[in-house]
Amino acid sequence: MRNAELMVGAFYNPHLGAELARAEGIDHLAMADPPAAGDPWWPKIHERYTLLLHDYLGQLSEPLDERSIQRARALAKLYRSPWVAEHFQCLHTEDGRYTLNYVFPPLYTEEFLERFVRNANALKARLDQPLVMENIPRFFDVKASQMPEPVWLRRFFEATETGFLLDLPHVWLEAHYRGLEPRAWLAEFPLEHVVELHVAGVEQDDDLKGPWIAPAEPSDEMLEFTAHAAALCPQAKAVTFDAFSPSLSADVLFRSVERIRRAL
């Protein structure tokens, strides 16, 4: 178990702006979207919280264009973000015709590794803050992948020296759908690179006919998994309750943060 020095926070959900502006016990807020122009709570939120940039900047299967880089730089500066997060995702086609509008991982191949390393290094060079990258779960295997995800990630982090944003429910879900023990699957990941951890609830989804990430409280099992993982991540600085949805209630957000803090 660790750890008194870990920051524990949540995502900024604008519909809960009033509650978050006066909340106690939250060390930081991750920003999934820029503040809306008319958000009355933004000045207070900006003033009192450490803010983490966690927006969609682009997919690193391609180089980010200048417009996206300038947007990332401006948001990181606005938030005074200690690091900048992106995902291991490839969710729209190169021609822009199809998009999933939801995080979706690349094929774990040499070609994609080379692309992500090259484009992450290029982005890192343009940022004034460290870059951290988040793992994304796959609901089904694609036969073209050439190596296990943890191996691909390890090689990526070694080649880029970026940080790892370890999403624990993503690891838990992959273990579930592969019939693996979550702690055993977690042990395969390059935990020495972890800077931030994400924790969330999972709920049964009717389409998937199984569990998936939901704007819900983490279960006791997930919290135990979090404590176990945090103890294995010597460089971790923050744990974030990963829920960003108009349906998220203030009760769930505050109780989740409190329970995460107690579990660590």
Binding site: D65, D95, Y98, L100, D205
Partner: protein, 257 residues
């Protein structure tokens, strides 16, 4: 085929239901078809949930009096019936899903005079947002666009000029306030232009006679002078109107060959 091209096939299979059912996809045998179908349906519900919550936010706020939450359609048989034909991001699918929402909310027994106009406005926003977009700008193309001051003006496909019986912009912000009564909307003929940038940002502006005339004539062939003559306004006014329309994403300049 490169791995990147293969990834595009997987993305398309998840986004495009008819392609997912095609022999072309199935014969590749890249993934368990049942898992792919389940995940595709999950993605479709998520995709349209985000859009309905965003574009029908005023109707959503009014659910406190109508009792009809727009996103409820995602759990109704009408949406499930669409799933075998849905192509995420296509205009046809956006139209079909938005029509379900409009039918659902309009079915409320609560009488709100401007509700029909409000639903048309929200439906237009959702449909205009659909379509391919530029995710990353090629540096050479960006330079070309910055320098593109000549050519013929052409209305961007999907741009809509709405004719409404109520002055919706006068009350939209107040609809989002936590009050139980519905603010009265002034009955006044109102034109609203709804357009989308190439990056997918939807913008709305009040229409004017000049905007309506220029949009109708902007076919990518007429010159500025021809537009001015057809619209019955000065060339300078056409230029100013076009600049505003380009900024909104309603008009682009064709470069010709």
């Amino acid at each position: 085929m490169s791995d990147r091209a293969l990834q595009d096939r997987v993305i398309r299979a998840l986004a495009d239901a008819p392609y997912r059912a095609s022999t072309e996809w199935r014969r590749r045998g890249l993934a368990d078809p049942e898992r792919v179908e389940r995940y595709a349906r999950f993605l479709a519900r998520h995709f349209y949930y985000e859009r309905i919550v965003h574009f029908f936010k005023y109707s959503r706020a009014l659910a406190r009096v109508t009792g009809r939450r727009p996103e409820a359609v995602l759990n109704q048989p009408g949406f499930d019936a669409l799933l075998p034909t849905v192509v995420l991001g296509s205009r046809a699918s956006a139209q079909a899903v938005a029509a379900l929402v409009v039918d659902h909310v309009a079915g409320s027994e609560t009488r709100i005079p401007c509700l029909a106009d409000l639903l048309r406005y929200e439906e237009a926003m959702m449909v205009v947002e659909a379509g391919p977009r530029v995710w990353r700008e090629d540096p050479e193309q960006a330079d070309e666009k910055r320098g593109r001051v000549r050519g013929q003006a052409e209305k961007v496909e999907g741009t809509v000029l709405l004719e409404l019986a109520y002055d919706l912009p006068a009350v939209l912000p107040s609809l989002l306030q936590p009050q139980t009564s519905v603010p009265e909307c002034p009955p006044r003929r109102t034109q609203l232009l709804v357009a989308r940038s190439q990056h997918g940002r939807v913008a709305v502006a009040r229409g004017t006679a000049a905007i309506a005339a220029v949009l109708e004539l902007a076919d990518g062939k007429r010159t500025l002078a021809e537009l001015a003559e057809g619209a019955g306004i000065e060339v300078a006014e056409v230029q100013e109107t076009l600049q505003g329309l380009v900024d909104l994403g309603a008009v682009r300049f064709s470069t010709g060959s």
